[in-house]
């Protein structure tokens, strides 16, 4: 029997168990779907156990926060836990290169503790030989640390689980409620089994690359799986009757649960659905448009568009002409200049200025204050207006236009249709411009697909204070056909960043007039369309305008940081037990074509897709079958 401690892999890497983490939770026959998408439940369970059994828990567990230093320690601890939890919960765990496995069955009062020995590497398996492997029900292998200095390509302590649904083409049917039930697989593609009636099937999927990224692992596994592994590679010795079927199944769906921190139970990742291209989806169009498909078959499905960028800032060369200069006076400089203008100016100065204008103040074309930090000066000189030098030195700038960016990341929250319109709403507050609605569909994408980087780019004219704020989503796009990533400025808003400082009564009048007619908050019904329950609830909600236009004076007094407001629907998630869940009750939206025997669980047919014309039955029976499948759905 090979010890897990000294397994030798192809790359010569000697695997030694540094310490073992494990994963556990409350469960029934199909535990992993219950636990993995909502590791919160795991935490809840953990807390419950800690609360109720803290005095009885093995010291190894409490000392190390539910992780173990050695396999033996894990062995001992888990066996003790198994006794404690007998008839209470399922508890399971295993070690990646061998391990232990515990389960208790509340219904039967049984409690079993198993050791796994010799999960052999594919290259170590001699076809036709017998190897010892022992398992029951669901196996959840865990990642272990390897005892060398190299970091794993993926984050340590993370557990990657795959929930794989598939159908069998050549597998005998076993009449049992758990037929085609849950399958679980770990990132290194080592284990995958399932419970079928009284039999346990071990699919024996082995991956030659032990430490690879999860996404690679999925595709690698699929590749290997689809291109056959002979059953001779399966471990074969088991006290239970085994079903060893031909490995020629059609994978219909793969999901993977990413990043569950098994060391401390914290969820560090998300739930990522991966579409399997091998499954038949009814959405591919025929390019010639003559063999069905969705309407509009003439499109080339090519949307490799162009990025719309803002280009560079406008030139400020006109400032070199001397027509005008932008001074950046400090408060002290401004005080001195005011003194000069209002007290020190002489009759000869006025006469000189009046050569061109009736009022000396007309040479000060704009005077304002703003909260824009970081304006760099081009130099300093005496403030000169109307050709008359005041003798008061101030910084000035030769760049009238300035451009600067803000960024924010956005990703999905629910990981489903609820993250998009008409469920989720997005607003952006742009200082000096106001609060505006954004189209959530332009910005939303899952973090696992890179998320969306939202760029808010300001372009400011320091002569007038006018600004343009432009908004760009940068994200990947997915769909049928060819799409370029969305990386274009889609929105432009305008405002003014100056609070005018008035020198004359006329200036003040102009200032007030400039802000007249600005509306406050108001309530308007959302124009969202109504389709479906959730949507209708959201669309009935009022859309409250959080602000009016915020420019000029108001912007100076308002919030200086741009931000997003994301409004999401609150999904009601009823409690389901292990064998009765949302998908069991309602199914998920599918839109896939299949032979009915290739699927399992709840199925509802799309209206008109199913004629039952190969069934030898009466017409009334046929109508009843169709009605059941199309209106109520059936459980296969």
């Amino acid at each position: 029997m090979t010890s897990f401690r000294n397994l030798n892999f192809n790359n010569g890497q000697s695997v030694n168990l540094g310490y073992v983490t494990y994963f556990w939770g409350i469960s029934g026959y199909a535990p992993i779907e219950t636990v993995c998408p909502t590791s919160i439940k795991v935490n809840k369970f953990k807390k419950e156990v800690e609360k109720n059994y803290s005095s009885e828990l093995p010291s190894a567990i409490s000392r190390l926060g539910w992780s173990f230093e050695t396999f033996d320690e894990a062995n001992t601890a888990l066996s003790e836990v198994a006794e404690i939890l007998q008839s209470q919960y399922w508890l399971w765990g295993s070690l990646e290169t061998g391990g232990c496995f515990i389960w208790s069955a509340p219904n039967s009062g049984e409690c079993h503790f198993h050791n796994f020995y010799g999960l052999y590497h594919i290259d170590d398996i001699i076809q036709g030989s017998t190897y010892t492997y022992y398992s029951s029900s669901i196996v959840v292998p865990f990642r272990c640390h390897i005892n060398n200095d190299e970091k794993l390509p993926i984050v340590d302590n993370e557990l990657f689980l795959f929930n794989v649904n598939y159908t069998e083409e050549n597998a005998p049917k076993v009449n049992h409620v758990y037929e085609s039930e849950i399958k679980i697989k770990c990132v290194d593609c080592r284990s995958l089994n399932r419970y079928i009636g009284d039999d346990y099937e071990w699919l024996g999927i082995w991956n030659q690359k032990q430490w690879i990224e999860a996404s690679t692992s999925v595709s690698d596994w699929r590749l290997h799986y689809l291109y056959e592994y002979t059953t001779d590679n399966l471990a074969s010795s088991n006290p239970h009757p085994w079903k060893r079927w031909k490995q020629s199944r059609v994978i219909t769906n793969i999901e993977w649960f990413l990043g569950i921190e098994v060391a401390n139970g914290e969820l560090v990742g998300g739930y990522v659905p991966i579409e399997n291209s091998d499954a038949v989806t009814i959405s591919d169009d025929d390019p010639n448009g003559d063999s069905g498909g969705p309407p509009g078959g003439d499109g080339d499905k090519n949307a490799l568009g162009d990025d719309v960028d803002t280009g560079g800032t406008p030139s400020s060369n006109f400032l070199q002409t001397g027509i005008a200069r932008i001074y950046l006076p400090t408060q002290q400089v401004m005080t001195a200049f005011s003194h000069y203008v209002f007290t020190d100016i002489t009759q000869s100065t006025i006469d000189q200025l009046k050569k061109m204008w009736s009022n000396p103040m007309d040479y000060i074309q704009n005077l304002g204050v703003c909260r824009l930090a970081g304006i760099t000066a081009s130099g300093s000189s005496a403030i000169t207006f109307g050709g008359v030098s005041s003798g008061i030195t101030s910084d000035y700038t030769n760049e009238a236009f300035r451009q600067f960016d803000y960024e924010c990341k956005l990703g999905e929250y629910w990981g489903n249709a609820l993250d998009y319109s008409n469920y989720t709403k997005l607003k952006i507050y742009i200082p000096y411009c106001g609060l505006y609605d954004l189209n959530i569909d332009e910005f939303m994408i899952s973090n696992n697909n890179g998320g969306c980087t939202i760029t808010l780019r300001y372009r400011v004219d320091l002569m007038s204070g006018m600004c343009v704020a432009m908004v760009r989503p940068s994200r990947a796009q997915y769909g049928s056909g060819n799409y370029s990533n969305l990386n274009s400025f889609l929105y432009q808003f305008n405002g003014n960043i100056f609070l005018p400082l008035s020198l004359t009564a006329t200036d003040w009048r102009n200032t007030y007039q400039s802000v007249l007619g600005i509306a406050g908050g108001m309530i308007a019904p959302s124009p969202a369309s109504v389709t479906g329950m959730a949507e209708s609830v959201m669309s009935q909600k009022v859309n409250v305008q959080h602000s009016g236009s915020i420019g000029t004076n108001f912007g100076y007094m308002g919030i200086q940081e741009p931000y997003l407001i994301i409004e999401r629907p609150a999904l009601s998630e009823p409690y389901y037990n292990n064998n009765y869940k949302y998908e069991t009750e309602y199914g998920y939206p599918s839109n896939k074509m299949t032979k009915l025997s290739y699927t399992s669980g709840f199925v509802k047919a799309r209206k008109g897709s199913f004629w039952a014309n190969n069934i030898h039955c009466t017409d009334d029976e046929r109508k009843e079958i169709i009605s059941l499948l199309e209106t109520e759905g059936i459980w296969v």
């Binding site: 000096y432 002569m463 009601s572 299949t594 069934i615 009843e624 059936i634």
Partner: protein
Amino acid sequence: MEGILYFNKSDKRYLKKDITQIGNSLDVTLIEPTTVIDPDIILAPNTRVMEVNYIWLKDFNRYYYINNYTFEYERIIAHCHVDVLMSHRKELGDEIIVMDRSDKNRASFYLNDPELRMYNYSLFETKKFTPKSGLQFKESTEQIVMVCSGSL
């Protein structure tokens, strides 16, 4: 006609019913005229009818729900309705359908799902933008800007 009585625990929407045979096969008589979909059959008065709700009729090669019983002198009439799913499950399994909803073969979570239920409140999140260059708006900044003409 030969028939086998069962106790059926499954909902009618299950393709394969969870049934338990009650007693041995027995001879049943049809009340004629009858239909293959809703036959009425005569059972012997000593039949354990209170324990059964399901029957297989050999000649029709179909399974039937027993919807109700009528008790008469020395006979019991069982009013049946065909279970189309269980009866034709093998042929049904070969039928190709487009699934509108499925437990195991979902297309994507991004199809609209009208079965989801929402609370009548929303979740709100605010996210701040981060400045990416030296320039930014700051509460603490008070930058005076004066534009003068005739500055040379």
